[in-house]
Symmetry: C2
Subunit: 327 residues, 2 copies
């Protein structure tokens, strides 16, 4: 039995706190050397892009992949599948649009848990899309957040975000019409902008105050920018989710190019959760988590959603698809 | 509307003659520079392998991927998906086990059409599995075959093959208990052995007679062997389906290592069907088609099967899965 989960089913079965915990466990498995996460395949199409990424989690007996294609202009479709390694059977095939934001948010949650001021109760969000929403949710899962501030360029978008999320999260959310007052004094910042639509730099290192932890989740392609090189330069600790950030993160590439931060000094989030590296070593430090996204995150997120869907009886059973071919 | 096609539906909708023609058209599209076919992603698992391959056919407005994983010992599961590029919608998601053999057979059909003696009416087959069956079918689609000979090591397997295929194809099939008498005098040879099970070399260049055209479809990983280096050395023309054969074909790697054939002299099948290279230039020549398999072949084969399934009303409609995410 394998489950086919469409967009509404995936969204209804995503429980952020569970996914944050599953993600931390998956990152420990990565740190223990039980995973294979090769660089993703990037293919050009006449309209945009086509990307394939896969990962194997040996200890969890899981393998899976995400495939997505389209363009920022016309939209993107995401498919995620997870299989058992032993026996190989499909567990679930699911819509990956919402899941991509959720797993990014859950990973930001893990990073925030290990890097931000433990008593932080305020978060500033730059951006008002699905990624902004889910990354805020990831932060709220790990810190006692009581105040949220949001900025994004279009007034109707940021106010809709404030109204919607304040109801969902039960927290007061204040909307700002420029980024600096929005982030001023916030101990945690989420930068989740639609870099594909090329608004360009949305956050500057000059705005960072002592003790702030910044999560930046946009700029996941080499040509994109979201935070400036000073954001890296000012950080006492820079944590990344994958060493492929060296090729995939436009923000990091620019920081390296301008000699603002040597890539080798950044550490992986898996190393931090395994206790082999540190994400913050003093209260007044500035810290940065730069997310690119990995197939491990997709698979861990998909497995958590599959478990919830199985528990609730959600999804369509597609039987033993695909079949086992014996030789 | 997108179709989910399980193993029985895929098999029932595979019409070899149609797929051979579609494959030739797809190869022309490749030769015209309208395709993107990157090297596949090979990932290790604790049990075996996990491979992902994708391709884009710009002119046909198609993109797609194949994912498969498992091991020769415990079996392999194959999933294939095809999408439109414009709009990105899923056309079909299908079981890829049978399709992998069919598309390999169809490609062998195209190679045989362009490389074998036009009047050849006899084919010798080394191997008795699904690949042997479908590659024989591919040859029968392009030449007026009246006699088939088969050898494989296990008597019960080769006799079952002869009985089953002689009924299906309506042709006399003779079973041999050693390979040399089986291939003696046959103008077309198909070598389709289960190299993964490590029987090793199944065909030798020393056995080639003037005018013979050999199709070798096993040995699709660097560590595998099916035909010896003399098979390459004796050929006036060696045609491959992908330049990645240089990394993926164990047979070709060994021929290069032993200085029996320089890789640069091999030409691609797409170049042959486009009329820019030649697969045979004289009647008495020995020719070799070495197949590795490409995602283009998977996508072309899957699209032909999808068209047939749509025409017949076969398959389950899974709606607009996955959804379009707008930014």
């Amino acid at each position: 039995m394998a489950l086919l989960l469409g967009a509404p089913e995936v969204e209804s079965c995503a429980v952020m706190a569970d996914i944050v915990n599953a993600m931390e466990q998956g990152l420990r498995e990565e740190a223990a050397g039980h995973t294979e996460i090769p660089p993703r395949l990037n293919i050009k199409t006449p309209e945009g892009f086509f990307r394939m990424m896969g990962a194997v989690l040996g200890q969890s007996d899981l393998l899976g992949y995400k495939v997505f294609h389209g363009s920022i202009r016309s939209g993107v479709r995401y498919t995620i599948a997870i299989h058992r390694i032993r026996g190989g059977e499909l567990l679930a095939l699911m819509d990956g649009a919402y899941l991509t934001a959720v797993r990014t948010g859950a990973t930001t949650g893990v990073a925030t848990r290990w890097m931000a001021d433990p008593s932080a109760d305020t978060v500033a969000v730059i951006g008002s899309g699905l990624e902004a929403q889910e990354n805020l949710a990831g932060v709220c899962a790990v810190r006692p957040i009581r105040r949220v501030r949001v900025f994004s360029p279009r007034k109707e978008r940021r106010e809709a975000f404030a109204n919607r999320l304040s109801q969902q999260l039960g927290i007061s959310i204040q909307s700002f019409d420029s980024p600096e007052p929005c982030i001023a004094g916030a101990p945690i910042v989420v930068v989740a902008t639609n870099t594909g639509a090329s608004q360009g730099i949305a956050f500057r290192g000059a705005w960072m105050s002592p003790g702030v932890h910044v999560n930046s989740v946009g700029s996941t392609m080499a040509a994109q920018r979201e935070v400036d090189p000073d954001t890296f330069h000012n950080a006492a600790h820079v944590v990344i989710d994958t060493r492929h950030a060296q090729d995939e993160s436009g923000d990091f590439l620019e920081a390296i190019r301008q000699d603002k931060y040597p890539f080798g000094r950044a550490v992986e989030l898996s190393e931090v959760v395994a206790g082999r590296s540190v994400g913050r070593s003093a209260a007044g430090q500035i810290t940065l988590f730069k997310s690119v996204g990995t197939a491990l995150q997709d698979i861990v997120g998909a497995f958590a959603i599959y478990n919830e869907a199985s528990r609730r009886g959600v999804g369509r059973d597609v039987g033993d698809f695909p079949s086992l071919r014996q030789f």
